[in-house]
Structure formats: structure tokens, C-alpha cells
Amino acid sequence: GRLQQGFQDRVDAEEKIEPRDWMPDGYRRTLVRQISQHAHSEIVGMLPEGNWITRAPTLRRKVALLAKVQDEGGHGLYLYSAAETLGVSRDELIGQLLSGKAKYSSIFNYPTPTWADIGAIGWLVDGAAIMNQVPLCRCSYGPYARAMVRICREESFHQRQGYELMLALAQGTPEQKRMAQDALNRWWWPSLMMFGPSDEQSAHSSQNMAWKIKRFSNDELRQRFVDATVPQAEFLGLSIPDPDLRFNADTGHYEFGAIDWTEFNEILKGNGPCNRERIEARRKAWDDGAWVREAAVAHAAKRKQRALKKAG
């Protein structure tokens, strides 16, 4: 239709689509799904890192970790707000998360058994997230793009902080270095899987490209991540757990081994090490907090009534 064409022309011209503009239903649906999934990931992502706040090894690290996890909560807020501009409430979205209907990033279904995991998450998981998210700063949907600008700025700070944490471990005692290597071993492949299935397998992609919600393919972004990260690991003196990893001087890229998607698929199905616990933690927080939210509503109503009485 004409609306459709006008919409696509604006997208093609790199104009931003705003909440009151007409947009195709599929575009709206895709954005709601993607933005809320991203918001949920920030919220669930507070758990694995939050797991080390009470055990951070110095007060400086503790403050930094508190600030980081707080930032993630903030990202969740921006993103829920961006999703709300598309006509869906935060409570509805949270309901979908808690019922298991909505997804969040599978990476947060891995546990953080050691302090080095905090470094690995910052370095690798935030690193991979940034690769995915920087292009979203130019997403065709205005509120999402603007939220991503703020988020990416903070994420890249987190990523540097995570790398610095790994560096301290890698340059530390042999036990600390071992802890760092162990974390890299566990997080490397899951980080590569964060970019999603390889292009041949990936659904939605071409339409999302046309809508400028997505700008690069999964495999492209994954390759960028590998190219950026391998030299960082070398600088740390840690080994990437991939015997097939090698630099191809012709292409200028690192070639890496085949990804084993079995585990990834199991996690998607809910069988990851922490799927159940993550959702249960969120549900418990929500359920335990019900009386608090109800009290806040009741109090606001009382205040309003009192104000009306006074005014009347």
C-alpha cells in the first residue's frame, strides 16, 4: 500500500520512525519482541553479576560492580520505555518474561561460579553485546536508536572494566591466572553463540535488514567479535579454547572452529544450567514485591483523595 511505501522510503532515507508515525504491524511486532527481549536480558543479566556483589574482593571492585549492575537496571528501564512507545505496557512485558513466553539472552543461563566470571562477562559478553548493539544506534526506530546510544556508551565502559579485571587476574598469582583461563574456557563458545545461528539458519534476517532494524548478518558480527577479541586474549596471555583457531593472513580474519549448537539449543529449550533459577528469582522478586506495589498504589490513591478533598 501507499503507507507501506512511504514508510519504506523514509527508512531507506535513514529517517527515524517515531511512535506516532504509521508503521507496518510486522515492524511493530518485531520491534516489541526485540526491544522487550533486550530489556529482559538486562534485567535477568543483573543476576549472574549480582551474584558477586557481596563477594567482590576489594571495596573498589565492589563499588564498580554495584554501579555496573545498577546501569543494567537503568538499561532495562530505557528499553521498557522504548517498548512502551509501541503501545505495550511494562507490566505486560514483565508478565511475558515471568510466564516464560518472552525470551531473554541465553547467555545469562550460565552460572558465575568464580570471580573471574565477572571479568569474562564484562570482556566477552558485553563485548559481544556491543558488537550487536552499536549498529542498533542507527536503528530506524527513533526511541530504540536513542536508547541504544546511551546504552552503548555505558556498555563500552563496562567492557573496558571487565577487560581490566581480567588483566589484573592474568597478571596476578598463578591461581588468579588459572581462574581467568577457566572463565575464558567456559565463556568463549557461549559468547560466540550470542550472535545467533549462522546466516543460513537464521530466520527474519532479510526483512529486518530491509527495515533497518538489523544491519549486519550474524556471521559478520561474530567474525568482527572474534577478530577484536583474539588479540586481546593474546595480550592477556590466555588461550582461546579452540584448537582450530588461526589467523588467515590473506583475509585478515581469524578462522575459528565449528560451533557446537547442541548445548545452545538445549538452553533455548530451558535446559541450561540456570534457566529455571533465573526465572524463579525474577518471579520471586515480583511475587514478594506484590504487597509493596499494592501499598504504593493504595497510598497514591489516598493522597489523591486527600488533595481533592482539600481542593473541594
Binding site: M46, I53, V292, R293, A296
Partner: protein, 255 residues
């Protein structure tokens, strides 16, 4: 710093305040990711962050006053329960959100009155720390006070919960106004505020909010004490075991 005696007393005072900030910050940080709503996840984490920040300044200064080369981390991570000097109030477990809010408000109201007066301390370092902290604490007391009003004057259920928490926690407020002899000398020297005056100001602030929250102020009965001299509840040991694990397990590491 006029005398060595003052220095030692000030070490004790600063350590108690630093430990209280650290332990209370720890308790709040346990909420991170588990609060009743996202805004509170952020707000409680933020207050925790401020409190640990205050603890860093205070413990650093305490270490300097002591003069034995202990820095903030040495003091935070290498002392066992009987060397911790925090108020018992701070180590009380979170229980529910209402309990956390009551604990926090009783503390925040005290901290605000204290830091406001410490800004005028004749000890320049303490005055400087207080000047930084007081700005944040002003926000804290507004946050916890507003919630106390919401919960107290909310539903019957929320009123009952915070009323119970208030009764439970009130006996822990006596410690805030205890001063040993050494600290009395600091009062005389204008380094720390007079506890009686502090208590009056705290009580006025607390009563005003309790009234708005439709909560009754508990009577000042028997007060729990011991934290200031290292006699703690059974909760603190678990908190420290968790907090101190890494530096204890890897004593030679830097992080």
C-alpha cells in the same frame, strides 16, 4: 588533631561509622536484582553504592589515624566479627522490603543529622568526608522516608508489616547515641557532635515521618547493644564469611 588520645578516640569513632556504612551497604546490596520493582532495584543499589563509598573514605581515614598501615581493604576484609564495630542495626537481615525500609530510615535519619553536624567538625578530614556524604544521605533519607510513609499509610497489610518491623528494630536504635568516655572527649573538642542533641534531632525527624506514615513511635525500652564494642549477633559472621572469602582464600593476590 590535638592529642594522641583524641587520635585514638577518633580512630574508634571513624571505624564504627565506616563499619556501619559497610555492613549496611552490604545488606542493601543483597537486594540487587530482587527488589519489588525495577526502580527499587536501581535505588537500593544506588544507596548501597553510596554507603560502600562512605565506608571507603571512613576506613581509609581510620587506617591513617591508626597508623599501622591498614588500608580500606585490609580493614574491611581482614577483621573477624569481634573486631567489627558496626551498629547491630546495620547487620540485621533484610527479611522483607518493609523491614529493610524501616532499618534504612532509622539509620538514614541518624546519618543525616550526624553528617550535617560533622560538616562543622574541628577535624578537617572528617568534615570533608561529611560534606561529601551529607549530599547523598539527604537523598537516602528522602527515599527511605517516602517509602515508610507509603507503606505505613498504604494498605492494612503494609501497615502491619512496617509496624512490626518498627517494633522489632527500635531496640537497636539506642546504640546510635552511645558514647564511651574517649568519644566524650571528642565532643568536648568539637570533633564529633553531642549525642544528646543528636538524639533529639533524630527523634524529631523520625517522629515527623512516623506521624505521616500513621505509625506509632515505640517506647524507648530496653536497648540492644554490643556492636560498638564488637559483640555482635549471629548474622554478622555469615555476612563476613561471604564478603571476605576471596581475600582470605587468596591472601597473596591483588585484584
Amino acid at each position: 588533631m590535638s592529642t594522641d588520645l583524641h587520635r585514638e578516640a577518633l580512630f574508634g569513632f571513624t571505624l564504627r561509622l565506616g563499619d556501619t556504612s559497610l555492613v549496611l551497604g552490604h545488606r542493601l546490596s543483597e537486594w540487587c536484582g530482587h527488589a519489588p520493582e525495577l526502580e527499587e532495584d536501581i535505588a537500593l543499589t544506588n544507596v548501597a553504592l553510596d554507603l560502600v563509598g562512605h565506608a571507603r573514605m571512613l576506613l581509609t581515614y581510620a587506617g591513617e589515624l591508626e597508623g599501622k598501615g591498614r588500608d580500606e581493604d585490609r580493614l574491611a576484609y581482614r577483621r573477624d566479627v569481634f573486631d567489627y564495630r558496626n551498629h547491630l542495626l546495620a547487620e540485621q537481615p533484610n527479611r522483607d522490603f518493609g523491614h529493610t525500609i524501616v532499618r534504612q530510615f532509622l539509620h538514614d535519619a541518624w546519618a543525616l543529622e550526624l553528617y550535617e553536624r560533622l560538616c562543622a567538625s574541628t577535624d578537617a578530614t572528617l568534615a570533608g568526608i561529611a560534606a561529601k556524604a551529607v549530599k547523598e544521605v539527604r537523598y537516602h533519607v528522602r527515599h527511605s522516608g517516602d517509602w515508610l510513609v507509603r507503606l505505613g499509610d498504604g494498605t492494612d497489610a503494609s501497615h502491619a508489616k512496617v509496624a512490626d518491623a518498627l517494633g522489632r528494630l527500635w531496640p537497636y536504635t539506642g546504640e546510635m547515641f552511645e558514647r564511651d568516655e574517649a568519644e566524650q572527649a571528642l565532643v568536648a573538642a568539637g570533633i564529633v557532635p553531642d549525642p544528646a542533641e543528636l538524639k533529639a534531632a533524630w527523634a524529631a525527624r523520625v517522629e515527623a515521618v512516623l506521624e505521616e506514615a500513621t505509625l506509632e513511635r515505640p517506647a524507648d525500652g530496653w536497648m540492644q547493644k554490643g556492636g560498638r564494642r564488637g559483640e555482635h549477633s549471629e548474622h554478622l559472621g555469615y555476612l563476613l564469611a561471604e564478603m571476605q572469602f576471596l581475600p582470605r582464600a587468596y591472601p597473596d593476590a591483588t585484584w
